[in-house]
């Protein structure tokens, strides 16, 4: 899958750095400011203001779930782990916290730009997949409705295949999904005559 990176989209973005005051925060702030972001350092926890951030950098060494105003893995923006100790337990925690990318400490002269792009791309990909999965789940859950709608339509003397085809044409004419069309057919069939729909 080719996803061309968009340019011009980091200017004015807001980054929160959840880390105690430290030279790593200074070095990272310098890099982010040069790239065009505004930066806020906070410790020991993020408050509701962080919900407006475009990126959150967090300390993986001293971090814990209670620092975030959202549930683990459910951040509304890309998250970047600042990793000092490469201990497996800390990596595991930062992944569960929802890291989309990481930077190793100490942060020096470079690395922030690549990390921002990687984190943004990972976050977007995850969000697109989540949307797709939610859509598929919903459609799976509506299978029963589709069967009922086809049965209702077939009751007018059509074969099952003809009824299914007609339902598909209704969905196309109404510009809605097959499942939503089925729901309309079922709802209409409950109170009045199905033929009103045709």
């Amino acid at each position: 899958m080719k996803r061309p990176l968009r340019i011009h989209n980091l200017g004015g973005a807001k980054a929160f750095i959840l880390h105690r005051p430290h030279p790593t925060v200074q070095a990272l702030t310098r890099q982010l400011t040069a790239i065009g972001l505004t930066v806020e350092q906070v410790w020991p926890s993020l408050d509701a203001a962080a919900l407006g951030a475009d990126f959150v950098f967090f300390d993986a060494d001293m971090g814990h779930d209670e620092q975030f105003p959202w549930s683990p893995g459910a951040s509304p923006m890309p998250m970047i782990a600042l990793i000092g100790s490469e201990a497996p337990g800390r990596i595991e925690w930062s992944l569960e916290a929802g890291a989309h990318a990481q930077m190793l400490k100490p942060v020096g002269d470079n690395g922030a730009y690549a990390t921002l792009l990687v984190a943004r791309a990972a976050f977007d990909a995850q969000a697109a997949l989540s949307d797709e999965i939610a859509g598929l789940r919903r459609r799976l859950g509506e299978r029963q409705t589709v069967i009922r709608a086809v049965t209702l339509l077939a009751a007018r003397g059509e074969t099952e295949a003809e009824a299914y085809d007609r339902l598909r044409q209704m969905a196309m004419a109404w510009r809605i999904t097959l499942e939503d069309a089925a729901a309309r057919v079922v709802a209409a069939g409950k109170d009045t005559n199905v033929s009103r729909l045709g």
């Binding site: 061309p4 340019i7 011009h8 989209n9 980091l10 200017g11 004015g12 973005a13 070095a27 310098r30 890099q31 400011t33 040069a34 790239i35 065009g36 972001l37 020096g108 002269d109 470079n110 730009y113």
Partner: protein
């Protein structure tokens, strides 16, 4: 008694980019001579020169040698992104600063580098902004096979397509290769409105030769119809190109004969931007003799260098090669360097001045 400050110079005086390195060196030496001769200046510069002779593996060790074996903390040098990226780790380790004075592809803002020539919002963007209304939106992209060519063409593609234009072809040559026949055949077949040339050195010279020959056979490829655009070609390379450069359109902060910036007469923008780097360094060192490191030196110092990005506010000029010399065809005012293309674009319109 003037304060004596050792200043590193790291330019190749031989090898394939020696013309550009020599132009930069000329600008640096001119600035040093001017500063040293000025009785009102509080310091004199003592140049410490090392010559990597065009060998990429010599840059980092020679930069380290300057920073370790002399008192120099500032090095003026490098004319390719490749060599700049080679010396940055040395600068970080030894606390030095590099003043990089040639155009580059942007997307960098090292804490140890000052960039005094143009980045894409000061060369490629204005150049395409000039070219598309004048010639059309169908572009062919060429480049040398390394970061300059790749990044310039990636940006050009993005900008042209966003403007509703088309990229008809994109082809690269290894650095040093003169095998341009396939590019020329593709250009002949697809008939673009303009060509972006991000080739360097002999590849670029050979391409310009072959394209001029093509223009001789078919007027569709005459520079007036389908010009070659360049963001790094200056007077420094015109003697190597001769007639082949006629009609080429370039963007840059300075062309020979311009009086407004940086003040004085220079052989090319490479020379001018290096001159500016040395002058600005002298000004900063005089204003803050006790400064600890580059950030401290730039903080609150004013001037043309942005302390956040270390990039420079520069004039943006579009010029065409006519009878062996660049003639400026558009002044676009001064624009601050925006290496990540993330800052608000400054309105170009109020500064526009067409020179016909």
């Amino acid at each position: 008694m003037k304060r004596r400050v050792e200043l590193g110079l790291l330019y190749s005086r031989s090898g394939s980019y020696s013309l550009i390195g020599q132009a930069c060196r000329t600008g640096a030496l001119a600035a040093i001579a001017q500063i040293n001769a000025d009785p009102d200046n509080a310091l004199t510069f003592l140049p410490v020169e090392r010559d990597p002779a065009g060998n990429i593996d010599h840059y980092a060790p020679l930069c380290a040698e300057i920073l370790r074996e002399t008192t120099a903390q500032h090095v003026i040098g490098c004319v390719t992104s490749w060599s700049r990226k080679e010396v940055i780790p040395v600068l970080e380790k030894l606390g030095g600063t590099l003043w990089y004075t040639v155009p580059y592809e942007g997307f960098e803002a090292s804490d140890h580098v000052v960039y005094t020539h143009a980045c894409p919002n000061q060369h490629l963007l204005p150049l395409l902004d000039w070219a598309m209304p004048h010639h059309g939106k169908r572009a062919y992209l060429t480049g040398s096979n390394y970061i300059w060519g790749w990044e310039m063409n990636r940006l050009a593609r993005d900008i042209v397509q966003t403007a509703g234009g088309q990229i008809l072809g994109e082809r690269y040559l290894p650095i040093g290769s003169t095998d341009v026949a396939r590019m020329i055949e593709e250009i002949r077949a697809c008939r673009p409105d303009f060509i972006v040339n991000s080739l360097i050195g002999p590849s670029s010279y050979e391409f310009m030769s072959a394209y001029r020959a093509l223009g001789g056979q078919d007027t569709a490829f005459h520079p007036a119809r389908c010009p070659v655009l360049s963001c790094n070609l200056t007077e420094a390379e015109l003697p190597a190109l001769g007639d082949r450069a006629e009609g080429l359109i370039a963007a840059g902060p300075y062309f020979c004969g311009q009086q407004s910036w940086p003040g004085g007469s220079f052989g090319s923008s490479h020379e001018a931007a290096t001159f500016v780097a040395v002058r600005e360094l002298a000004r900063l060192l005089s204003a803050k003799p006790q400064a600890k490191g580059l950030s401290d030196l730039l903080a609150g110092a004013g001037g043309v260098i942005d302390p956040d990005t270390h990039h420079t506010r520069l004039p943006v000029l579009i010029a065409r090669v006519e009878q062996g010399a660049f003639r400026v065809i558009q002044h676009r005012g001064e624009i601050a360097g925006d290496p990540y293309l993330s800052r608000n674009r400054e309105p170009a319109a109020p500064h526009l001045r067409v020179v016909s």
